[in-house]
Symmetry: C2
Subunit: 345 residues, 2 copies
């Protein structure tokens, strides 16, 4: 028997989730020598991804949404990179690296029904890229940036792009892809250090939304208006962007983190401009665009290895840091893509 | 010399416009025998269209929007059907019926530069359809319904459609086109008489938004949720629709009349559902879709003549009724497409 720490969803939060109340660190044991069921695999989790959308899963299971609610008193789950320790499934071999949805535990037996959400990614063994990249820039967050900007932003060379939460898991890539496509790119973030970083990775402009009025900053940094907004924040930020948007602007809604942890959502008052400016506001979920997976992986790998793309990560060490890592993401207290390193090989 | 009454834009309103203050009826004279400039035409206005979008033109000319501001102390203008009395332009002959943008006066000399906005529509002489139809169901409002629902609503047979301001110039057609395309259609309007009318012209359901709570009515009339919303109202109506929208719903924003005459716009608080449900909110202007003009005219003429489409009009008699007719439209006190009959042939 070995120790097996898991992260349990224990209670539905009304505002920000808390460790010890809504999320628990639970220690148990697992027998790694035990037989596993037909079709299942036994994984050793190497690293896991905490992302803003998980807040939406901390809800009453009776409320429908695009991703399922977390089950109460069960382990949370999300994207991981893991090593196959045992396989009773032809798709996976012992020693394979797999990427996909798995429970947040050090060791996980994935039943056959859930193995469809796993994929072998043995290229991670010798790509020269950090393993954590596979749950970030080369995983769901990276593909979210790619699909959102290219498919829904419909960028044309010379247009202007604004990215909020721009130093985050998705935003930092949206800005760099925007530059690659010939856009004028401005981002906002919540500290001067983050703002400085955005300029260093190629953003044409950046501002700290905590110390500068957004509406003024946008007017100043977008003298010709905003053509594409990659929306991660919502609320007043969205209202200020609409006020500065050009005719036919596309507002691609990836997330609205300012509205996740509040019981008093902000009322956006200038939607009448949607008519006057023929705006398009479009929410999307990356998993609805599987046709873009291969082009994304090909392009992003090239951009990382050959074109100098930077991907900043914020690495928490140890699975027991998972609750705090997620809270940091929701409060904007991380810097870069937040991941949790669970184990070495 | 003959009498020539014009409608003058006299002052920018902050809420609802008023006759005698923001819009004036001005009597003057015109010499119909006078020479007209090279390239111009002299028109006798037969009927004119008042439409909600005109409220947006009653603004400070320094504010940009898709349609130009009305010039202060000049005649208002809009869509008309008119008879050519004199022509100094090869494109128009005496006796032609023309459709297009013209000043609101009984007689108008249209300078060459503005004749591009006019089009000969002599088929109106013998189509058997009322002349007023050419500024309504067969004019800009009709094409707005057609383009909005078909191009931006992207309807699929069996989906559900909700139309607000459903007995208006555009809404009544959106509903009937929706039925023609195999949709389940519900509309709302501001009186029981209008609601009854909607049911008579084929809507599957209808409710009076003044006497019934919108959110409840939508939940009741859309047990399977809303797939397409044809938005004419905005504000709380939009919020209630978002709450009842299905995943991938399209919200086609044609207008937001509830927000045109207020200094305290409503704040929509549930835009976070744009992300959760992958909603698409899209404003549009009919003039951006010229490729749909011919299909629209062909289809709509057939629907009127062969398929029993109904088009209810509200006809004010005499050009001096124009200010009140527009005010009625903005207050929802008309019933059907509001037109002003200016002259007989």
């Amino acid at each position: 028997m070995v120790s097996n720490t898991q992260i349990i969803f224990a209670q539905i939060p009304t505002t920000y989730p808390e460790e010890g109340k809504h999320m628990l660190v639970k220690k148990s044991e697992i027998d790694l020598d035990a037989e596993i069921p037909q079709g299942s695999v036994l994984l050793k989790t190497l690293c896991l991804s905490v992302d803003p959308y998980m807040r939406g899963r901390m809800r009453d299971a009776s409320i429908k949404s695009y991703s399922p609610a977390f089950a109460l008193n069960q382990p949370m789950n999300g994207h991981v990179m893991a090593l196959v320790l045992k396989s009773n499934n032809d798709k996976f071999k012992v020693g394979d690296y797999v990427y996909g949805m798995s429970s947040f535990g050090e060791y996980v037996v994935v039943p056959e029904a859930y193995t469809a959400g796993l994929e072998v990614r043995n290229e991670a063994k010798d790509s020269g890229l950090p393993l954590t990249n596979y749950i970030g820039v080369l995983g769901m967050p990276g593909m979210t940036a790619y699909v959102g900007l290219i498919k829904f932003g419909k960028p044309k060379k010379g247009e202007s792009l604004y990215v909020s939460a721009a130093s985050g898991a998705v935003g930092q890539l949206v800005g760099q892809i925007g530059k690659m496509l010939g856009l004028y790119v401005v981002g906002s973030a919540g500290s001067d250090e983050k703002v400085e970083h955005l300029k260093q990775i190629g953003f044409d402009g950046a501002f700290n939304y905590k110390t500068k009025d957004t509406k003024e900053a946008l007017a100043e940094l977008f003298p010709k208006g905003i053509d594409i907004y990659f929306e991660n924040v919502g609320g007043k930020m969205l209202e200020d962007v609409i006020a500065n948007a050009n005719r036919y602007a596309r507002i691609v809604c990836c997330g609205m983190i300012s509205q996740y942890n509040t019981t008093e959502p902000y009322g956006v008052r200038n939607l009448i401009q949607v008519v006057g400016k023929s705006l398009e506001i479009r929410g999307f979920i990356v998993s609805d665009s599987p046709e873009m997976r291969e082009p994304f992986r090909k392009d992003m790998t090239k951009w990382l290895l050959e074109d100098g793309f930077k991907y900043r990560e914020c690495i928490a060490e140890g699975i027991e840091k998972t609750p705090q890592a997620l809270i940091d993401v929701l409060r904007g207290e991380n810097f870069g893509k937040q991941v949790v390193k669970v184990a070495d090989l």
